[in-house]
């Protein structure tokens, strides 16, 4: 275990100048839930650790019907789960936050950390993907925007340069008659990393109308979280029957090439993708047609999936 120098930044400008100075030898931490574990294991060996937890202005979460959700990079997963507008307008995101580790980790872990660590199984990522999230990245020359589906380049790899900081995630408001859901499957349930995580979103043209938009995102089955585009294409523009949902689920299952590891074999993962795609689509369609689930019902689904 290599020793490191501990630095704290108070402003985004300070973070950028520390990053410019220490470059690849620096690691940004906030909740540090991943950092300490990986440092102890010798996986991450930075010479300089930059704690951004007290950087001003990055810890806010706000919602407006016009601009949607703005999530500062330091917003904790717990704050995301507890936010009333996340629960009402972005149920898949609330469900993803609720299935994320335990409350002791959710109180520390940040949405920004979950994104930047770029784990294929990061729980918040599939849900953010189906809502079309965008990332505001701060750098020496100002801000740039990157769509979340362009943000990941491999396991643990992102488009962030050594002197850049993810500052904020924006999630557009979903259209009316939209439903969404996220289900995570893992061996232990609570606390465990996902074997497979699936988020689905369905928008209808009117309450009974055809499907105007369908998005499906899959976690833990590829080097990065991925959209299931061909499965989405089966649904878009059509009246959603049980047969069509099953066809989309089959397409999502057949379209992935997961690996076998300690949490499940490739064959097992493919089957779970099919099952969870169908279940999340059914739930999303249900909510799109007849309004979102109450928080109590959402909580029951999450706890039943985990215990």
């Amino acid at each position: 275990m290599k020793r490191f120098e501990y630095l704290e930044a108070r402003t985004v400008r300070q973070v950028i100048s520390m990053l410019q100075r220490y470059g690849e030898n620096a690691r940004i931490v906030a909740g540090s839930t991943d950092f300490l574990v990986r440092w102890r294991a010798g996986v991450w060996n930075p010479g300089h650790v930059i704690n951004i937890q007290r950087v001003a202005g990055l810890g806010r979460i706000t919602y407006s019907s016009r601009n949607g959700l703005r999530i500062g990079v330091l917003v904790t997963v717990q704050a995301l789960e507890q936010h009333p507008m996340v629960r009402r307008r972005y149920p898949a995101l609330a469900a993803a936050a609720a299935s994320f580790a335990g409350v002791q980790v959710r109180n520390l872990a940040t949405v920004g950390g979950n994104i930047c660590n770029a784990s294929p199984s990061g729980d918040t990522i599939p849900a953010l993907l189906v809502f079309g999230a965008e990332c505001r990245i701060a750098g020496p020359d100002g801000d740039r925007w990157v769509a979340l589906d362009q943000f990941f380049t491999g396991p643990g790899q992102t488009v962030l340069r050594n002197d850049e900081l993810l500052a904020e995630v924006r999630v557009p408001p979903p259209p009316s008659n939209t439903g969404s859901h996220y289900i995570k499957h893992s061996p232990r349930g609570a606390m465990d990393i996902a074997t497979v995580g699936v988020a689905s979103l369905v928008s209808l043209d009117g309450r009974r109308g055809p499907c105007s938009e369908a998005r499906i995102a899959l976690g833990a089955v590829a080097p990065t979280p991925v959209r299931a585009y061909s499965a989405e294409d089966i649904l878009r523009g059509h009246d959603l029957s049980q047969e069509l949902i099953q066809a989309a689920a089959d397409s999502a299952r057949d379209g992935v090439q997961p690996i076998s590891d300690i949490r499940g074999s490739a064959e097992h993962r493919k089957e779970i993708v099919g099952v969870l795609t169908r279940r999340t689509l059914e739930q999303a369609l249900n909510s799109a047609a007849s309004g979102p689930l109450t928080f109590e019902d959402q909580r029951r689904l999450t706890v039943q999936a985990a215990f």
Partner: protein
């Protein structure tokens, strides 16, 4: 290089000289000699090290000690009032919510955090709140009963104030 850390633990301001890589857990146990907080997995999976950090349950094994400077920490040692147990401790004793006791400080602090969050103490909400605490003895049924009992006392005592 060790640096000075200022932290309020169980209402008392404390100082410790700790390395940058020290966790809050190691600081509590090895520097401040508060060994009621247990080290189980040391990677955030078991919940035995749960303390309240500024009132919220956290795994103290995952917190960089220096990131908690000027923070308020509550450990299991801070709950009882002299010989009088905290209502949550009393409920765990009376309902048999513990056997070997290793996970108990963490479970009790998660319960205190849950009851103070104001969420309804339904069985689902209790399971959700305690999902981060592993217990290999009790099977959890009596733990959940203890939380329900403690929530009633909590409500009754608030009602009489």
């Amino acid at each position: 290089m060790k640096k000075q850390l200022q932290i309020t633990v169980n209402g008392e301001p404390r100082q410790a000289l700790v390395e940058p890589y020290y966790s809050l857990l190691d600081t509590l146990r090895d520097e401040l000699h508060l060994t009621g907080t247990k080290k189980g997995c040391d990677e955030g999976d078991c919940g035995a090290c749960t303390v309240l950090l500024n009132g919220k349950p956290v795994c103290s094994c995952l917190v960089l000690a220096h990131s908690a400077h000027d923070a308020e920490v509550t450990t299991i040692e801070g709950l009882a009032n002299g010989l009088e147990l905290h209502p949550v401790q009393q409920a765990f004793v009376e309902r048999g919510g513990l056997q070997c006791g290793f996970c108990t400080p963490g479970l009790i602090l998660s319960t205190v955090g849950f009851l103070e969050s104001g969420e309804e103490p339904t069985e689902e909400n209790i399971k959700h709140a305690l999902g981060g605490n592993l217990c290999r003895c009790t099977g959890y049924t009596k733990v959940i009963e203890a939380v329900v009992a403690a929530s009633r006392w909590n409500r009754d005592s608030q009602g009489t104030e």
